[in-house]
Amino acid sequence: MELSTQDSIGYVSGGGLEANLQVRLTVPVGEVQEGAFVVTDSQNWRFYCLVTDIQLQALDERYAGEVSGARFTPQLAALLDKATLFPTLAVMPVLMMEIGPDLNAPEYEAWRALNPEDSQPSTVKTLPEHHSKVRLAAAEDISKIFGAENGKEIFRIGKTREQGHPICLNLKNFVQRSAGIFRYTGSGKSFWHA
């Protein structure tokens, strides 16, 4: 199944600022990989997160311990598994950005008047609500954080593993502070630097 970045892959079911967020997956576990960038909108905030772990959970360990298809009819076994076995993601919220109310909401105009400038991502200070829908990050989400390639000072240095969205580096910002390049021998550090 090919997932669109607009499709929800699950919803927030718990977690905290110190611990990772728990996301209950609503798509097959193979659709999401560790290291994927995911996004969730909650109230007026958009949270940019990274998948750090994938876990298989069961409502009761006995449901996971017994192969239901060997005991019940295929239809009943499928319904039972769907209701009792579920994968979850451990998701680390990294950045958040104020996005305001929905564009079509009546309160959007008032909010926009108070916030005429587009806000920028900042470190996470709060959390999304329970049951906030989580989706895979789109190219626009990635470019909002890393910048969009412009052929000048912002150039592409790689891509996300899952969806191949370009990841760019803003040279102007990069040289303003000290920076280091870390990688194992033979991986191209000197070539990249040159």
Partner: protein, 174 residues
Amino acid sequence: MGSLCVVDGQANSKTYGLIANIQVLDDGLVHQLVSEGRLKAEQRADNRYNRNQPVELAVITLGFQAEGRFHHRLPGQVPLALQTLRLCGADEGFAFCSAGKFSYLRHILSQTEFPDQELIVAHINQLNNWQPAQRDPKTWYPQLMEILIRSLRSDYDRLTQLLDALSDLEQSWN
């Protein structure tokens, strides 16, 4: 046991229920005949077919119909005394059960007086027998099963016993 039944009330209201128990009440004459020893075949037949023996039904109320709409909650009033109880037909039974999301099942699952698993199995079997060919594919069955599994999934033993019984039932349909 497990049949859907209905009591027609006033102002076109109806109360729906499930027969949960059928009890033949104690009959002194039967005791006498049995203690007599040898029972002739004609005596046995006479008692079976010519005498009115008191039989009592226990019915779990599942919902009601008022002003043309079905409701899967308990009615505000109980049926009046001496109102007639009749068995539901296929169309009426299907109409009641499939209105909403089978939430009437909670009335069967929450009672403790009667064997809920056997009642559920008998009820599902009746729905299956009612299903006319034009209602294929059988969409009600997975919907109903989803509700049942969600309702009982926190009780592993109870749910798996019910699914064992339903697996047997499903195989008998094929």
